[in-house]
Symmetry: C2
């Protein structure tokens, strides 16, 4: 287990990820330089992940890095922004194996390349605790077109992209708690948990169409609560309309977690949840075809402050207090 | 020990720190929005700190937060930038006392206010490990005037601001390993270790004057090595010219650490180290008076790649491989 040197590590593994972007200054300066194109505004977000909390210590390190990139890109997608760069604060456990760091850097590099995201800077430190990473992603958006959580209006239709619940069930698979699932279903759910697809093209296309948008990271119902609270509205979700993958249906049939409830309140989907006027239905249908991405109307925005989930007969389904919470349990 | 709820925590403690900056969107959106003034360029830096590595677990939480802000501002200072905002990724230990978080947030708020730095966003998570924080600071600088590490030229004079070594000796005090020091000296060193003064005004004033600059965070000699490597030059440091505070002299006299060697190679000073043409001597003298901040010429830049430290008689002093290293020891 060769010992690691911070500066050598930066040079050897991370500096190549900054290559081609002059503002990163080869990661050899105190800070990075970025120009904002005229007429555009910067969009900034940061997410932290901790071994044992946000990923499993024996997850493949390349996938940990890629998920970190993608959850941040998902936040940019939810604002309708174009990715522009990233900064990484990496806390590796003391005595970490160099090959683990190499695989982490390889995964990071793969996704930075795929999403054309230059590494602008960072900090690499050792920790006596679990591996911990914080990524700050930078994007740009045409001034005034950015999507926000706060614009939902009573009468809006509520939409979600892709399928919901795969991430939550994928966590059961990752933990080895879904042995009863058929292998292809298990593999699909695990992939969805480990490798979110940030909906960047959708986010960009929703500018001027969606009234409010956010990404589903903490669970559909909990995140919907954030849109409602920020917008000062309520919402009705028709549970039967929430799009589920075949794999998620199999997981529900197998009795994983709390079934549909887990799908509706689990996290890690990284789909976009948004509201739009009913007049936008046709436009959204066309967009769905263009992007090859399912867009499903799952309910509507109402006056008030209540987030109500209705079963197939219109009966009210009781939800636990929604959303993943890091503290207090 | 009341349990903490992430969202409640953000709302109650951190959202007020974003007040008055519309782009932070009340910390209630997926990402923050920032406009870059025309003619200016963005400067971005990130630093991570870990309990037990970068601060002591029983350090006052308000001072931990303030140091985190200041070490990042020091990076902006080293680029000659104006602070524009910050994003905080905070990993609090599970079961952390609410009052600890409150004191941390109070210190954060105090410094964000002092340095007029809006909190633009962040992420708050729980960790089974030590408290870990990553702050990303955003600044702006007039395009083309930013200071870099890479511009040092043979014949430049080498300068440093303030005094050197106080941070390193302050760490001995913080650890309770400096009982032999008089109380005022110990208090001064401890204060310097815990509460760096980012040299923002100096950094701004050095634009157009300094050929290369960086902040001394990992130790004077080690950091000088970075300037030399990035600039493709060597340097001579005249040890007798390195400015020491009375408190640091007392620490050396008391035999703390390795004495002068600790001052020259210890970290946490957050002074600016820079090079400038000898023709700038008068300008730098005037600047020192204007800012009320000592600026000391401590040597010069030479051709080659060697960083040589000379004693009072011109004899070569052997330095350990310079700089604080997080891994490999």
């Amino acid at each position: 287990m060769p010992a690691l040197d911070e500066f050598e590590l930066i040079r050897r593994l991370f500096a190549p990820l900054a290559a081609g972007h002059p503002g990163a200054l080869g990661l050899a300066d105190d800070a990075a330089l970025v120009d904002c194109p005229p007429g555009r505004r910067l969009v900034l977000t940061t997410d932290a992940i901790v071994a044992g909390v946000h990923f499993l210590p024996d997850d493949p390190p390349d996938l940990i890095a890629r998920k970190l990139v993608r959850v941040n890109l998902s936040d940019l997608a939810a604002m309708g922004a174009e990715p522009a760069g990233a900064l990484l604060a990496a806390c590796f456990p003391r005595g970490v194996d160099a090959s683990w760091v190499e695989r982490f850097a390889a995964g990071l590099g793969a996704d930075l390349t795929e999403f054309r995201l230059p590494l602008l800077g960072g900090d690499t430190v050792a920790t006596p605790g679990p591996a911990t990473f914080a990524l700050t992603a930078l994007g740009t958006v045409e001034i005034g077109t950015e999507l926000r959580r706060s614009g939902a209006r009573a009468g809006d239709r509520l939409w979600v992209s892709g399928t919901v619940g795969d991430g939550a069930f994928g966590l059961f698979v990752a933990r080895g708690e879904a042995k009863e699932l058929a292998t292809p279903h298990a593999a699909e759910l695990l992939d969805r948990y480990r490798l979110p697809r940030p909906r960047l093209a959708l986010g960009r296309a929703l500018r001027g169409v969606a009234h409010a948008a956010m990404d589903v990271s903490d669970g559909l119902i909990g995140d919907l609560g954030h849109i409602c609270e920020t917008s000062g509205v309520g919402a009705i979700v028709e549970a039967a309309r929430v799009p589920l993958s075949d794999a998620a249906r199999a997981a529900i049939a197998a009795g994983l977690g709390q079934g549909l409830l887990t799908a509706l309140t689990g996290g890690d989907d990284y789909e976009l949840l948004f509201t739009a006027a009913p007049e936008s239905d046709a436009k959204l249908g066309a967009l769905s075809r263009d992007l090859g991405l399912r867009l499903a109307p799952i309910g509507g925005i109402i006056a008030g402050a209540e987030v109500r989930v209705e079963g197939p007969g219109g009966e009210r389904l009781d939800m636990p207090r929604g959303g993943y919470r890091h503290f207090g349990r």
